[in-house]
C-alpha cells in the first residue's frame, strides 16, 4: 500500500518536472497536473500541501537525484585521473539519461527557490569536490590553479560536448552525437592538460 503511494508521488513529481520544463513555473497548476497525470486534483493534495509545496518538493527531488547520480561510485580520495573519469561518466550519464531533469535544474538554479534549495547542495558538493582537488594537488597529480580556471578546464569541456549532443549538431551545424569514446578522448586531453 505504502509502496504504491510512493510510486504515485514519484509519477506526479516527474510529470510536474515535465510540465515546468515545457511551460515554465507559471504554466504549472494543480488542476493541469491532475489532468496530465490522469488523477483527481484531490489525489495531488494528498502528497503536496499546495502549489508552493509541490514546486519545492519537486526541486528537492531533482537536486537529490543530481547529487546521488554525480557521486555514484565516487570517492574524493580517488586518484585524480580515476576520480575525474568517474565524475565525467556520472555527469554525462545523468545529463543524457535525464534530459528533462538537467533542463529543470537550469530553470530553478536562478529562481529564488533554486537559490534556497541549492544553498545546501553547494556546501555538500563543494566540500567533497574540494577534498578531491586538494588531495590531487598534494599528490602532485593536479596543477594548482584558481578554481574558475580549474573548473573551466576540468568540467566545462564535458558540458559543451553535452550541449552539442543535445542540440544534435556541433560546429558548422554538422550532426553530432556524444558517445563514450569521444568523451574518453576529450577526458584524456583534459587530464593531460591538468597534470603537472
Amino acid at each position: 500500500m505504502r509502496a504504491r503511494d510512493e510510486q504515485k508521488k514519484q509519477q506526479l513529481t516527474e510529470k510536474a518536472i515535465e510540465m515546468i520544463v515545457k511551460d515554465g513555473f507559471d504554466g504549472l497548476s494543480m488542476q493541469k497536473l491532475a489532468k496530465a497525470a490522469n488523477v483527481s486534483p484531490a489525489t495531488i493534495y494528498i502528497y503536496f500541501k499546495d502549489r508552493d509545496d509541490l514546486v519545492r518538493q519537486v526541486a528537492i527531488h531533482a537536486v537529490d537525484k543530481m547529487i546521488s547520480s554525480t557521486f555514484t561510485g565516487f570517492d574524493p580520495r580517488m586518484s585524480f585521473a580515476k576520480g575525474l573519469a568517474r565524475q565525467w561518466e556520472n555527469r554525462m550519464n545523468y545529463m543524457l539519461d535525464n534530459p528533462l531533469h538537467a533542463r529543470f535544474m537550469e530553470q530553478i538554479r536562478h529562481s529564488p527557490l533554486g537559490v534556497e534549495v541549492f544553498r545546501k547542495v553547494k556546501e555538500e558538493f563543494s566540500a567533497i569536490m574540494k577534498e578531491f582537488m586538494h588531495g590531487a594537488i598534494r599528490r602532485k597529480e593536479l596543477v594548482k590553479l584558481p578554481l574558475e580556471i580549474y573548473w573551466s578546464v576540468a568540467f566545462a569541456p564535458l558540458y559543451q560536448l553535452v550541449k552539442f549532443h543535445n542540440d544534435g549538431k556541433g560546429m558548422h551545424d554538422k550532426p553530432f552525437t556524444l558517445d563514450k569514446k569521444l568523451m574518453k578522448t576529450t577526458l584524456k586531453l583534459v587530464i593531460k592538460a591538468l597534470t603537472p
Binding site: 503511494d5 494543480m30 488542476q31 486534483p41 489525489t43 493534495y45 494528498i46 500541501k49 499546495d50 502549489r51
Partner: protein, 79 residues
C-alpha cells in the same frame, strides 16, 4: 475515503470561496471548534481555493458544516 498518510490521519480536500488573506482568520475561527485537526492550509495559487485538512477524526460533513457556519462555500473533492 481518502488515502491514509499515517496510521489514522486522513487528508480531506475541499474547493471553497476563500479568496483573500483576510478570510484566513475567519477560517481559523470556523475550524477551531472541530477537534482533531492537525493542520490546514489553503492553496492560494489554485483557481478553486483548495482547503486541505489533515485530521484523524473529522469527517468531510463536519468540516463542511463548520465552514458553512463560518460563511464559506465548501465542497468536498472526491478522489
Amino acid at each position: 475515503m481518502k488515502t491514509l498518510v499515517s496510521a489514522n490521519t486522513r487528508i480531506l480536500v475541499f474547493k471553497t470561496d476563500i479568496r483573500y488573506e483576510k478570510d484566513l482568520d475567519a477560517v481559523e475561527k470556523a475550524l477551531t471548534f472541530l477537534p482533531g485537526i492537525l493542520s490546514w492550509n489553503v492553496d492560494r495559487h489554485d483557481a478553486e481555493n483548495i482547503l486541505r485538512i489533515e485530521s484523524p477524526t473529522s469527517t468531510p460533513a463536519d468540516i463542511i458544516a463548520a465552514m458553512n457556519q463560518g460563511g464559506f462555500i465548501c465542497i468536498e473533492l472526491e478522489d
